[in-house]
């Protein structure tokens, strides 16, 4: 038991070498905030593109053309079967051989719009390599989520719409997709939460996003752990804000399913996502009896 007590004491006295001053100093630093903004931009663009790719893949897989079906399956097989870190590194390493690294780097749109606080410029070649890898990878996962969402809608819905004279695409847009969207939203929110953190892998390719910025500042000050805490605080803040938005979107889409008498979740429940999984479920169970 003595060993445990000694160890617990060292846990408590961590501050002998963990300098909190660095955390307070760098959490609100312009360089870190810029890194967090880059992370958000990267996540939002990649998630949007990934979702579009996922939708496209669904229709290719469900389509009549065999070659498209096989290609879509192969795409999903490949991008889900190789690590995201490998894909990011591969695109970055590939770019110079395609002679596009230098032209991209020469454009430098981020410095032009005032992103000059980080440990260096945000180069477009790193940025695009990261976007490409993140969205192509995300597309493979979104394809599965979209498939689950659309396939969950009873085929009778599509048949009924067609019997009313709707074309396949109109029935999809007006009848099936709006219902499927409600099913897709929770896992989509989950994917975006993952995306916010997966962008950290872009630190491999000299992209000054949140983690790389924190790491460079931390190593230069011999305060690596302190700056990892700073980065973590920002990732937590970003995912918390997203959880809040996700809750709003889910309640809006689920409005007709909600029990009017059910208590509205508290702000902290909405922010941290506690109890969100129960929304709509508690009333759905007795309604079936």
């Amino acid at each position: 038991m003595g060993g445990l007590l000694q160890w617990l004491q060292s846990v408590v006295t961590l501050n002998h070498f963990f300098v909190w001053t660095y955390v307070w100093k760098y959490t609100p630093a312009p360089a870190i905030i810029q890194g967090a903004i880059v992370t958000v931009i990267l996540s939002v663009i990649s998630q949007l593109l990934g979702t579009l790719i996922g939708l496209m893949l669904y229709f290719l897989r469900r389509g009549r053309i065999r070659v498209f079906r096989i290609s879509a399956d192969a795409y999903i097989w490949f991008f889900r079967g190789t690590p995201l870190a490998v894909q990011i590194l591969a695109f970055y390493t590939l770019f110079p051989y395609l002679h596009i690294s230098r032209p991209l780097r020469a454009i430098d749109p981020f410095s032009a719009i005032g992103f000059t606080h980080g440990p260096g410029p945000i180069f477009l070649d790193s940025f695009l390599a990261a976007i490409l890898a993140l969205s192509l990878n995300e597309g493979a996962y979104m394809a599965e989520i979209v498939r689950a969402g659309i396939d969950a809608i009873d085929v009778g819905q599509l048949e009924a719409a067609k019997s009313l004279g709707m074309t396949y695409s109109l029935a999809m847009r007006r009848i099936v997709l709006p219902q499927a969207f409600r099913i897709i939203i929770p896992p989509l929110g989950n994917e975006f939460n993952n995306m916010l953190k997966n962008t950290a892998l872009a630190a491999f390719i000299a992209l000054n996003e949140l983690l790389e910025t924190g790491r460079l500042i931390g190593d230069a000050n011999f305060a690596s752990l302190e700056l990892l805490v700073v980065a973590s605080l920002w990732y937590l803040l970003l995912t918390t804000i997203w959880g809040f938005f996700q809750g709003i979107i889910e309640r809006k889409l689920n409005a007709s399913n909600l029990d009017p008498g059910a208590p509205r979740p508290q702000w902290w429940q909405r922010a941290f996502g506690f109890g969100q999984g129960n929304a709509g479920v508690a009333t759905a169970v007795p309604a079936e009896h």
Binding site: M1, G2, G3, L4, Q6, W7, S10, H16, F17, T93, F95, P96, Y97, S101, R102, R105, P119, G120, P121, F123, A206, R215, L216, D219, A220, F222, A223, S224, L225, A282, V285, P286
Partner: protein
């Protein structure tokens, strides 16, 4: 109204509590086990070997081993043997093994990211450090000396590596302005580029000559990645220690050449904790003994870097 699955939650919580307590008890057993093994330090059978009391005063990270961190991407100082990537070679590595041998310890060289080495040597409390010391081409400067002690053992200048023919005419920091330069994280070379851009902490003393036409700096944790950017044409030049530039040029003839020496040789140091004087004394004495009996110069000569000895040869 409440589904059965919700009512059963307290049981789950109890199960979690039991699990946590169990894990803590297991951990304490493990820790006390570690405590008993660390007291039995083995001493070599050599008569010159230090007593077990002396070894105990070194507070080694791993009993019986001299644990040395090195960023093994920096040929010819420290790098993975191309024919056997599990073994680390280079003059720093030969020195490291010689130190362990003279201290009657087993050499335990661990590959680490250059930027995190000093933190991992000096950060944790004594006895809990990840590495006992580091030999990894650390140029001695005041920023580093605030955190660790540095025993001078070698000298190296800084130089530029460019593509053959030097198409961008990069021969100095001034001529780097506006160009793409690859550099390793947390090196003195990176500090100079940051200061030249006016974005650094001004620790290198480099004037902000590229303030208005910034150097496009590509930074990587591994020097291998830095070199790759010049070889595949992604960067106009890379900036590192001169022995490293020369080594890669000799290994890739016709692809790259030296763009010029920017900084003349300056002392590099072995990184030691400030609060582990007994080990630092032992290493300093061992280095002195290696100088006296010729081992030190022999190691440098094997790698063709004897001219960079510290103190300089007469």
């Amino acid at each position: 109204m409440t589904p059965a699955s919700l009512r059963s939650r307290p049981n789950i919580r109890r199960a979690v509590t039991v699990g946590v307590v169990g894990a803590a008890m297991g951990l304490s057993l493990l820790l006390s086990a570690c405590g008993t093994t660390s007291t039995t330090t083995t001493t070599g059978n050599n008569a010159n070997c230090p007593s077990s009391a002396t070894v105990a005063s070194w507070h080694l990270a791993n009993p019986g081993k001299l644990t040395i961190a090195s960023d093994t991407t920096y040929a010819p100082a420290e790098f993975a043997d191309p024919n056997n990537v599990g073994s680390f070679i280079g003059y720093d590595m030969d020195l490291a093994r010689e130190f362990a041998k003279r201290l009657c310890l087993e050499p335990n060289i661990i590959k680490a990211d250059f930027g995190t080495i000093i933190t991992d040597v000096a950060g944790p409390p004594l006895g809990q450090q990840r590495y006992d010391m580091s030999i990894s081409s650390f140029t001695i400067n005041s920023t580093r000396q605030q955190k660790v002690d540095m025993i001078p053992y070698f000298t190296a200048g800084e130089s530029i590596m460019v593509a053959t023919g030097n198409p961008q005419h990069i021969t100095s920091i001034d001529s780097m302005c506006g160009k793409t330069i690859a550099v390793q994280d947390n090196t003195v070379e990176k500090s100079e580029i940051d200061d030249a851009n006016g974005t650094g902490d001004k620790s290198s003393g480099q004037a902000p000559v590229c303030k208005d036409n910034k150097i496009k700096e590509l930074h990587f944790t591994s020097e291998n990645d830095v070199i790759l950017q010049v070889v595949n044409g992604n960067a106009d030049a890379s900036y590192q220690d001169q022995p490293v530039t020369d080594y890669y040029i000799s290994k890739n003839p016709g692809k790259t050449e030296s763009g010029g020496i920017t900084v003349s040789p300056a002392p590099q140091g072995i990184v030691m904790r400030k609060d582990n004087a007994p080990l630092e004394t032992a290493i300093t004495n061992a280095l002195q003994a290696m100088r006296s009996d010729g081992t030190y110069l022999k190691i440098l000569t094997n790698w063709g870097v004897q001219k960079l000895a510290y103190p300089p040869l007469p």
